[in-house]
Each structure stands twice: as C-alpha cells, then as structure tokens.
Symmetry: C2
Subunit: 361 residues, 2 copies
C-alpha cells in the first residue's frame, strides 16, 4: 500500500496586525475539505503572518489558492509597512513534501498552484528553490530584492519576467513567490548550564558555519582573516545545521538552538548526538531537547531506530514504540510532556478533532 | 553560626495492617514539638510499617520514645505474623545524622533513647551499627537471628545480655534494636531502553558486588568458581552501591535501581556519572534519574558544585542555584517535577505546613 501523500504549506501573508483579516484568510484556507491548520503566527512588528497547514496535495493547493485569493482581496500592499522584507500580499508560499510524495512531484504541484495564481488572480508569480525555472531564481532573497517598492521597475526587465501571470506590476497585491522546499526543523538542545557562552561554544562546534578563527585560538584573540580580508572560519561538524546558544530564563538553563535545513543530510538524532559529544568534551551534559514545531513522522522513526541499533536491539517495533524510544533517548519530554498527536505532522491530520496548534496572539 | 542539628529517625513497627494502631503510633510521634513526619509506609504482607521523621536530636529521641511506648501498648508480638524478620513491637529504630551533628553524637543520642526504652518500658534493647557496644553486635541480622520466637532462649545466654533493659524476655513487646547509621539513598537512573537485561548490565558495571564471572565472558557461560566452590565475582566500579536493573511499565523505560549506602564513599553525582559512562559504552543513554525518598541538602549541593566545576565555573552560588544545577544535570525532574521542599530533608523541616509525604495506603 502506498503511503498517503501529505504536503505542508507555509504561506506568509503581509498582514500581522488586523486579526479580522487574518481570520478571513485562514477561514478561506480551512474551508477546503481535508485541510488541517497547524499554526497561525502573526507578528506585529513584521506586520506579517506565517500560516502552516497540511493535507493531500490537491487539497493543499486548493486551500493555498483560496488563501492567496482572499489575501489579494483584503490586503492592499500600497499601504503595507513592516520590518520584514516583502513584495506581495501573499509574499511567499512554499510547499513541503511530508510523506508519500517526492520533491519533484511537490514542485509540480507548486507550478499548478502558481499557474492558477498568475492566470486567475493576475498576480505575477515566481518559482523558487526546488520549483525554480532557472538557477538564478532559486533564491528567495534574490527574487525579492528591491521589495514591493522596487518591483514596478524590476518586473519590466526581461530577466525578471514572471514564471506565471502578467509581466505587469500588480499595485494592490504585489508579486508572489511560490516553490517547493525541504522541511526546516527548529530544534533546541538543553544543557546543564546557565552559561550562554558555553551553549554558544557547543553551537559553534556543531553548526555548519562553525566559528571564526582567532589568534592562538583565544576566545578574545584577534579574528584571523584571509588575503581578501574575509574572516577565516573553522567549520562545524554538521552540514545543513544553523545554530546559536542562548539562555532561557523561563527554564533556568541554556540551550543550543538549531535549525536543521535538511534532515537527509543531518538527521535530528545526529544533531542531538553531536551536541552530546561537544557538551561532554566541554564538561557539560545534554539534559534533553525540544522540538519547536512539528516534525514528519519519519524523523522520529529514524531516530528511534538509530538508538535501538546503538543498543544492538531489533528495530522491528511499532511506530508508537519507535517514537517512544526516540522521545526518551533525546529527552524530547524534558521541558514539557511530548504529545505525539500534536508534534507529529501525520498524526495531526489523522486526528482532526484534536486541538489545532493555533496561536491567535 | 553552627548549623542546626537535625537527626532522621526510621523506626520499623510490627504492625502493617491495622491503620488505627499505626495512626495512634504516628500521632504519638507527631505529638512532640518540632517533629516533622516525612513518610509512613505500611506493608500488608510484611505486617510492618516503616515511619520516617526528622527534628532536633532532643525532639527526635523524645518522639521515638513516645512511638516505641505506644507500640508496646498496642502491639502484641505473641500474635504477630508477617513475612519480614522481626523480634519486637518496635523492631528496629535507627537514628541518622542529617546535618550539624556527627555520627558519634548521634550514636550518643541512640544510647540515651535505648536507656529510657530499657529502663522505663522494660524492653530488652540492643545497640547496632555505629552505636554498637561490640563488633559482634554491629549487624542487625545477627542480633535478630532466631527472631521473636527464638528470643526467649537467646536472651538468657550471657553473650546476648541486652545493652539496656532487663535480661528477660518481654512476651508482649519482644526486643528492640536501636542504633545510629548513615543515610541510605534510594536512587534510580533512567535509560533510553526498555530492556531489563541491558539495565542490569549497567547495574552490574557500577554496583560494588559487580557480576559473577562466566566462562569466556559469555552471558550464558558457565559460572566460574574458586577453589572453595564460591562463584568468582568481577567487582563493579563503585563502593557502597547496591544495584539492579528493572523495567518500569508505568514509565515505559528501564532503570538502574540503586541503594547508596555511604554517600561519603560514593556520592550521588558519582553514581549518576558512572551509570552514564557504562550506558554510553553499551550504546545507551541516561535520560535522567529519580530520588525515591528524601536526601540531605548537602548531597545536592555537592552534586551542583561537581557539575559546575566540570564546566570550569564558579561554585559561589546560592543553595537554590546549586540545587537547580544538580537537578538539571542529573535530570532529577525527568519523570516528575522536582520539588525541593518535598525532596530535601532540611527544607521539609523549614516548611512544616507543606504536605508531609504520608502514604496511608
């Protein structure tokens, strides 16, 4: 039996203050059968709302279209102000394959969605990341450079002809970037220290960017530079991992806060293990960890199997048992109980009556 | 300023079924000013109740005397049946120095108490452990050998003349053993496995008794014996530690369950660290730990300082901060929140209005 195909969609709308408008947009998204809204995160300063929902590919692109359409009706970009770079009422709309679907298939759905947005709503639309039509357009920041205010000039250049929709500036709605990308996992590892500096030293050990090299390796030593005057970096252990250390007053401990941008390159459990090793070598101990949002089930199944294999045990267990071992091994229940029905994307869809994780601040 | 002297007293009464009798005994104990009852643990099968209380040395020996007196009134040993070895209505009554008092001073209080019990209640009384009057009598099991039923014959032997009280069998109350000993800490370390066998392998690595040696070091190999036919043991890493592995269905994990019999020899944090090392070497991870009863404050302060020193940090912190680091480092809040006012003996005495940990089953 083929696994049910699930896509996650994370549109960013350029409205973060007017709760009535935000509600109308999410209502339009939720009006589509089979859609589960997972998160609504409005920001006052950015005047921008990040919405997360999941469903079958067909349902997701229909719901995304309805959300983009409603945003085009209700948001007037000519009056928009906010701290985050943006160029459209629906600024960016990535599709993320969760299970039972490939990145290529997901990118094809992104094109279907973009074509409708361009044709039916007259919004210039650009494809990015894994749905990009050329390497020059794969990076969101490059497409968005100049922002809404600069787009009237940018769009008429031949090299910025939209992938879909008219090559004509849409004053009310701006332009929209649609694409397909891998899931990003926000993951924090807890340490038995209150020291942000020590947590940072672990973050620098593990993150891809590593740390800048300093004279004689002294913490306050002069930063060493190459012939072009660029700081020389000592790379960290893990690819596709961003990270920083911080102190959380609420918990009274410091954490290594990471973004895992590609769990095929660096899985969750490897990020955990490398933090343990680094902490241990620095006299600290990892006491547990915390998933900030939701994760695809496979991430936890892989982790469960990894820890069982380390114990030379059989991995022929049920999903529930594998997830239990993963949760216990990484201490995902260290700071708060771990409720799989709210943390595992697939389980949220199965259990639509469960509380959606909607934060209407 | 000298620290306030605190003694813990853990009398074992030969009644575990009649809650009315147990209540009258604990009421007599609690009637003494400044006494904090910490735990009442009756056992049906053993027909025995273990009571734990603390206070100043004077209050504790007065309360112990009142409890022993009440037990002598209400319990008739000639009718007692139960699975645990016993020889008296108050079977054994150890005093345990917690803070601000030495073992020698505590033993002197034990003698004061025993003298009153012998003289005023006519109960033959023997001193044991650190209060023993001769090395032959330091071991409780040896004093109690033969139990209540055999004591009529045993007591008339010159070598079993009681330390206090008449050299005459007390048919109703039997005999009582009083003494001074170190605190025993029941401590469980949580593993990321469900395997009792793997938890046992960690227990065998760390406990003083270690494991029996087997042919070719195979788990099912023949047990190797010495010339006297005794199994050859491979000792574990830690002195004064007993331990076993078990699986806890309630938590869905296996634990190393330990008794630390002398935290001056093996402190709590060292027991934790050695379990971590052993687990790590066997592909497992320690996910936290659990104190079953209460601990003297110093045990946690020492642990907090240990983990700070490992991080090369200053240990000049408040008690609360040191305990926080200890709790976080050893994951003492892994299975349940850690409430210092209910887990640290000294804090229980300070906060008498807090719920006493009375389990009246």
């Amino acid at each position: 039996m083929k696994e049910q195909a699930i896509i996650e969609c994370v549109p960013n709308f350029s409205e973060g203050r007017n709760m009535d408008i935000i509600k109308q947009i999410t209502d339009a998204i939720e009006s589509v059968d089979g859609i589960q809204l997972l998160d609504v995160d409005p920001g006052k300063a950015t005047n921008r709302t990040v919405v997360t929902f999941i469903g079958s590919p067909e349902a997701v692109i229909e719901a995304a279209f309805q959300g983009i359409k409603k945003a085009a009706e209700l948001i007037d970009m000519s009056k928009h102000k906010g701290e985050h770079p943006r160029m459209g009422a629906t600024d960016v709309c990535p599709l993320i394959p969760i299970s039972g679907i490939s990145m290529e298939e997901t990118a094809a759905y992104a094109h279907q969605l973009a074509k409708r947005v361009g044709t039916e709503l007259d919004i210039p639309t650009y494809m990015y990341e894994n749905a990009a039509t050329s390497p020059d357009r794969s990076n969101l920041a490059i497409i968005r450079a100049g922002e809404y205010e600069g787009f009237g000039e940018k769009i008429i250049k031949p090299e910025w002809k939209p992938d879909y929709g008219p090559q004509k500036f849409n004053i009310k709605s701006g332009a929209t970037v649609i694409g397909a990308r891998k899931i990003l996992i926000a993951y924090n590892v807890n340490l038995n220290t209150t020291s942000e500096r020590r947590a940072n030293s672990v973050a620098f050990d593990v993150r891809e960017q590593g740390r800048v090299k300093r004279k004689d390796d002294k913490p306050n030593g002069e930063i060493l530079k190459d012939e072009q005057g660029e700081a020389i970096r000592e790379l960290g252990k893990l690819k596709a991992v961003k990270g920083i250390g911080w102190f959380i007053p609420e918990y009274g401990i410091a954490q290594v806060s990471m973004n895992l941008t590609d769990t095929e390159i660096t899985p969750l459990h490897i990020a955990f293990e490398e933090c343990c090793k680094s902490a241990d070598s620095r006299g600290m101990r990892v006491t547990g960890s915390e998933l900030v949002g939701l994760v695809p089930k496979q991430v936890l199944l892989d982790a469960g199997k990894y820890f069982l294999l380390k114990q030379e045990r059989s991995t022929g267990l049920s999903e529930t048992e594998l997830i239990h071992i993963a949760v216990k091994s990484m201490g995902l229940d260290d700071l708060a109980p771990f409720d799989a029905s709210k943390k595992v994307i697939e389980y949220c869809l199965e259990d639509k009556d469960a509380n959606p994780l909607v934060k209407m601040k």
